[in-house]
């Protein structure tokens, strides 16, 4: 197919070593014969010229019975680019940790070639497969095809609802994993389908699960509830491998600094341990595990010699989010350690955790203002109010340091004699 719209500016993005999305879209337009792809390039070229986007505020579109999973989108220059007049997006809930069979992928591609633009995001920032650009009338057919397939695909979340949970690769291919990240992610997604598809909350809510404190799914920055694997026993040490590192027989950091990187155990491991709980006498590496905060650094640096302990569980941090509106937040440590056993058992696994989650949601639902994330609500009402709601005792592990201001709000029942006093009594002791 000949080029529909000239794109001199975008053409400059075709060269260079990094794969070019322009080439790819153009290929879809030309080789795949997609009008949508051609019009998308045309509209994008216009944006490159004007330095302004050309999509309108999304209207409310979706599939019956769901309040989310589809993002409506319309062009504001539909006359110029009629094939992208509608350009709605579907969020398809990815399988946990994003392994696919080619059969599964091809199934999606097939639908999308027939009923959508043929363009995707693999993946969206939350973790969904994002199918980019279709018309309103295609939404229900697509949904039917997805759900009635062998794989029984479903949509992910959007709006003021539970968003699609996601996780790191975990035990599937990582020796550091202290959690069954996929199983936890799957458990939560399956258990909270109603919360995902029928927005009923003040705002969005996200779960992310990382198998260890390296946090490869960025949960501590990007999820209202961050589940991070950790352990409470001792780091396992393989002394022979320690010696091999010392002798330069194994490249440091799992080879991540290049094969020729010589690890200096003192300088690169012991001296960088944040708690100073390691020592190295040139022969023996000693870890005072009681003082270790499980940051992972030493394990990252010497993965063949050191491994996390075996009594594993999760730390739960609440409230991470992007800056709208009160400024960005990282997750705050709420449950220092919780066992996360049997997540494969959808009925009876993770019961204690579910209980926590539901208490949290209830409190948020009752107290949150419109468009107030749980982290912002905690900021507004105070961490202790949240702890009371989820029935967790205050713990010094929840703070970097105790308060430094003297403004404590004592409650009446904490103070002998209560708050009721009369000036008459006072004046008996103290003349005016």
């Amino acid at each position: 197919m000949p080029k529909k719209h000239p794109t001199p500016l975008l053409d400059e993005l075709k060269t260079g070593p990094w794969p070019s999305f322009v080439n790819d879209i153009e290929r879809l337009a030309e080789e795949g014969g997609s009008e949508t792809a051609a019009d998308l390039l045309g509209q994008l070229e216009l944006s490159y010229k004007e330095k302004e986007g050309h999509w309108k505020h999304g209207g409310i579109v979706g599939v019956l019975g769901y309040g989310g999973g589809v993002i409506g989108r319309y062009s504001d220059v539909p006359d110029l680019f009629p094939s992208v007049a509608h350009f709605h997006t579907l969020r398809v809930n990815q399988p946990a940790s994003k392994f696919y069979s080619t059969e599964a992928l091809r199934f999606i591609c097939d639908i999308w070639n027939r009923r959508g633009s043929g363009l995707t995001n693999m993946h969206g920032s939350t973790g969904d497969m994002v199918l980019l650009g279709t018309f309103t009338e295609e939404l229900e057919p697509i949904f039917y095809e997805l759900t009635h397939s062998k794989f029984e695909w479903d949509l992910g979340g959007s709006g003021s609802a539970l968003r699609t949970p996601s996780c790191c690769v975990g035990k599937a291919r990582c020796e550091f994993a202290c959690l069954d990240t996929q199983a936890i992610c799957y458990n939560l997604t399956k258990n909270y389908q109603d919360e995902m598809h029928r927005p009923a909350w003040p705002y969005k809510f996200k779960f992310k699960v990382s198998g260890c404190p390296n946090d490869c799914v960025a949960s501590i920055a990007r999820s209202d509830c961050s589940i991070i694997g950790t352990w409470r026993d001792e780091i396992r040490i393989d002394e022979a491998a320690v010696a091999a590192y010392a002798n330069g027989e194994i490249a440091g950091a799992g080879g991540g600094h290049g094969a020729d990187f010589k690890l200096d155990i003192q300088e690169h491991v012991v001296d960088l341990c944040p708690t100073g709980c390691m020592s190295w006498d040139g022969k023996k590496l000693t870890i005072n595990n009681k003082e270790c905060n499980r940051c992972m650094h030493c394990i990252n640096a010497m993965p063949e010699a050191l491994r996390p302990g075996v009594d594993t569980g999760a730390s739960i941090l609440i409230g991470a989010k992007a800056p709208i509106l009160e400024g960005a937040q990282l997750g705050s440590l709420i449950i220092p350690f919780i066992k996360m056993e049997n997540p494969e058992d959808l009925e009876n696994g993770l019961e204690a955790f579910h209980e926590f989650v539901e208490k949290m949601w209830e409190w948020w639902d009752e107290n949150g203002k419109n468009r107030e994330r749980i982290g912002e609500l905690i900021q507004r009402l105070g961490l202790y109010e949240f702890l009371k709601a989820v029935e967790i005792e205050p713990d010094p592990r929840m703070v970097k340091e105790p308060r430094s201001n003297p403004y404590i709000f004592y409650k009446e029942d904490e103070v002998p004699g209560g708050f009721d006093r009369t000036i008459g009594e006072y004046r008996k002791r103290h003349a005016r």
Binding site: A104, A172, D180
Partner: protein, 365 residues
């Protein structure tokens, strides 16, 4: 699939995602939870060894994220040829091909290289894929494009994608507006689209598409007030002095667009991290308040990032993330060594501003 006539009848809902383990290659199934160690053999190629003695080899290659079904079909073909028909995507949108035998690594590499659109790399102490968002390709609130700047920056930093010679991981993210869907607030380097003009208001139409009280309430700085225009339309007006261009009003009310070719552009941020290794997670800090939009290749943005990466590469110690480096040498040195200009915009004036001021005479000349 044949769509039945009444496809609205026999509905299935609340299915959730397909179960993950059906997509695992044999070697993953067999060694789930038994992995013992990993070795990055060369940039983009790494091996995990199991307690069973089995080994899996992963080849990681660049994903554009915005990809066509044709490209996915290319991926599938390769996965069929080498990987029992399985493939995975990483949390940073790279593509991972897993093979169960070292002998397959060479041929797989050759095929990927031949493809031309799947460069291998992104592991260890280098630059991996840029997490990014929609930009002008799909969203309605962007101040910048996403895929374009990403392509331009990665072209420039490509040598760091295919090598592991930086002091530590260097994670770059991009978000096209302050909503920060790219969650750029904790990245070693972040590229952020920013508006700089207050919303322009469609008084004649506002009342038809927005609720005035919600619109007023949406503004975090209380810059929005009720208003009636000359023609008697009920509407709102914005006190420009109080506007910080967050765009929340536009999210709530389509009659208040912020986008402007001259006003919009890029802010660069630096020194955030997510992992808990050594130091706790940190927010990214402002590096360059504003660079105009320069499509198609955003040269100022690209060069500035390059400049900072080179300064970091030259000066930081092994294992030191960007933010750890800046913290150790002090921000006065960071600005000196990178050659970036410090301005009053770098001084925080939002909610927790006072906690960022320097309350000690400890500084470096």
């Amino acid at each position: 699939m044949e769509l039945p006539e009444n496809y609205m009848k026999d509905r299935k809902t609340d299915l959730g995602p397909p179960k993950y383990d059906q997509f695992w290659p044999e070697i993953i199934k067999n060694n789930y939870g038994k992995w013992k160690l990993h070795k990055i053999l060369e940039p983009g190629v790494y091996m995990h060894e199991s307690e069973t003695g089995e080994k899996v080899y992963t080849l990681r290659c660049a994903g554009t994220r915005l990809m066509s079904t044709l490209h996915i079909e290319d991926i599938c073909k390769i996965a069929d040829q080498f990987c029992e028909g399985f493939v995975r995507f990483t949390t940073r949108n790279n593509i991972e091909f897993l093979v169960n035998d070292e002998s397959k690594v060479g041929p797989l590499k050759a095929v990927l290289e031949a493809n031309g659109s799947m460069p291998i790399g992104g592991t260890g102490a280098g630059v991996t894929n840029i997490v990014h968002t929609q930009g002008w390709v799909h969203c309605h609130t962007p101040a910048i494009d996403a895929s374009g700047p990403v392509k331009a920056v990665m072209d420039e930093l490509f040598e760091y994608f295919t090598s592991m010679k930086l002091p530590a991981h260097l994670r770059i993210s991009l978000a096209c507006c302050l909503n920060m869907c790219g969650a750029v607030h904790c990245s070693d380097i972040a590229i952020l689209g920013v508006h700089r003009k207050p919303p322009v208001i469609e008084h004649g139409n506002l009342i038809n598409v927005c609720e005035i009280p919600t619109t007023i309430a949406s503004c975090p700085t209380a810059a929005i007030k009720p208003y009636k225009d000359d023609e008697g339309h009920k509407s709102v007006q914005v006190n420009s002095d109080r506007c910080m261009f967050c765009g929340n009003c536009y999210t709530m009310c389509p009659a208040m667009p912020l986008a402007d070719g001259e006003g919009d552009g890029i802010a660069l941020w630096v020194g955030g991290k997510v992992s808990n290794a050594k130091s706790a997670p940190m927010f990214s800090k402002l590096m360059v308040p504003f660079i105009p939009n320069e499509p198609p290749r955003w040269p100022t943005t690209v060069n500035t990032i390059k400049q900072v990466v080179e300064a970091y590469a030259a000066d930081a110690k092994p294992f030191e993330r960007m933010g750890e480096w800046a913290g150790r040498i002090g921000w006065e040195r960071f600005f000196e060594k990178t050659g970036i200009e410090f301005s009053h915009h770098h001084i925080d004036d939002y909610r927790f501003a006072p906690t960022t001021w320097r309350t000690t005479p400890q500084f470096k000349f």
